[in-house]
């Protein structure tokens, strides 16, 4: 047991094992933060160097978790884990087909709180367009994913994973249009 007195007069005591455990946790947190830090800053930070924000390890782990979560939903109640479809289903409820959606979304919010607690860097969100553009963009994402019957999760992960022709086409379309749009508003017009 070691005792220590801090400059501000408070006492602090800890066992050697406790100290080692704390140091280990702190090291792991720092490593995680370092791996991620470049990711939160990169991309459009205006610094030179290609792939600066790339987070290969975390992005791969996260991707695998997303895939497993989608498989779990298929295994449990036979549904496609499409977030746009699940959300929209709550807005227009039908008998016996709504509660599971609400529960799934509740699980997502709980997961998000876990992320905020353990890995707050993932919520250091920066949006580089005006509120008006965010409003318009959100509306287009909402109406577009319903007209096209799916988004990045339903078409992109589950549909592409099943090699479903409709999802392959949809994903090719929304990815290429997103690349084009991003380029147009960030490098050509600067309108937003």
């Amino acid at each position: 047991m070691s005792h220590r007195r801090f400059a501000n007069g408070t006492n602090f005591s800890i066992t050697p094992e406790g100290a080692r455990a704390l140091i280990n946790i702190n090291d792991a947190r720092l490593r995680l933060a370092e791996t991620f830090h470049s990711g939160t800053n990169g991309a459009r930070g205006g610094r030179a160097g290609i792939m600066e924000g790339f987070t290969p390890v975390l992005s791969s782990i996260g991707g695998i978790l997303i895939g497993l979560a989608a498989l779990a939903l298929l295994f449990v109640n036979g549904r496609i884990a499409g977030i746009s479809g699940i959300t929209a289903g709550v807005l227009h409820p039908t008998q016996g087909n709504t509660l599971w959606r609400v529960i799934f979304l509740g699980g997502m919010v709980a997961g998000a709180m876990l992320v905020r607690w353990l890995h707050p860097e993932a919520l250091a969100i920066r949006i580089d367009v005006s509120n008006a553009a965010v409003l318009l963009g959100g509306f287009l994402v909402g109406i577009g994913t319903r007209i096209g019957n799916g988004c990045t999760s339903g078409h992109g992960v589950c549909g592409v994973g099943r090699l479903a022709p409709r999802s392959l086409v949809a994903s090719a379309v929304f990815f290429s249009v997103a690349v084009l749009t991003s380029w147009l508003i960030r490098h050509v017009t600067g309108a937003f």
Binding site: A43, R44, G45, A48, F54, T55, L58, I61, G63, I64, I66, G67, A69, L71, A72, F75, N77, G78, R79, I80, A81, G82, H92, W100, I103, G107, V109, G111, A112, V115, R116, A122, L123, I125, R126, N131, A133, V134, G137, G138, F139, V141, G142, R146, I147, G148, N149, C151, S153, V157, C158, L163, R166, S167, F174, V179, L180, T181, S182, I185
Partner: protein, 150 residues
């Protein structure tokens, strides 16, 4: 039990999104913006790993006679490429390319409490609601099928 499992799937999904970095629009735009100064391949890797895991294992799940807590799998069977699929995906692509949020990350990012995230989410829900309302009236006129891909 059923709802606990569904809850856990949602939880894992959101944790995956958070860990992958896809809750950050700046990382999504960092991928989409090929002509930016720093191209960030992270989103591409997330798509490859998530769809890859699904590709490897979904058949094993579908080979079972039924899901754990349902009588049938609800996997879309349509294979036709129609105009709504392409048109809707174009609209989605425009919104995604503008802001850098798609539905899953937008839902997950709500707990950040940031105003712009909430603006996006409310507008997205309004868009979904608008389409749902239009679709209901349309279906009465044209008997449009309502199979959902995702």
């Amino acid at each position: 039990m059923k709802y606990l499992a569904i809850f856990s799937s949602g939880l894992l999904f959101a944790v995956g999104l958070g860990v992958s970095g896809m809750t950050l629009p700046q990382k999504v735009i960092g991928f989409l913006d090929f002509s930016g100064e720093n191209w960030d391949p992270s989103l591409g890797l997330v798509m490859i790993t998530s769809a890859g895991v699904y590709m490897l294992l979904h058949r094993r799940v579908l080979r079972r006679p039924a899901p754990l807590f349902d009588t049938d799998f609800h996997v879309p069977a349509r294979n036709d490429i129609d105009r709504p699929l392409v048109f809707g995906s174009m609209l989605f692509g425009i919104g995604w390319g503008m802001v850098g949020f798609c539905p899953g990350p937008a839902v997950t990012a709500l707990v950040s409490g940031q105003t712009q995230v909430w603006i996006f989410f409310v507008a997205m829900v309004a868009g979904m609601y608008a389409e749902g309302t239009l679709a209901v009236s349309n279906r009465m006129l044209t008997q449009r099928g309502d199979a959902v891909d995702g």
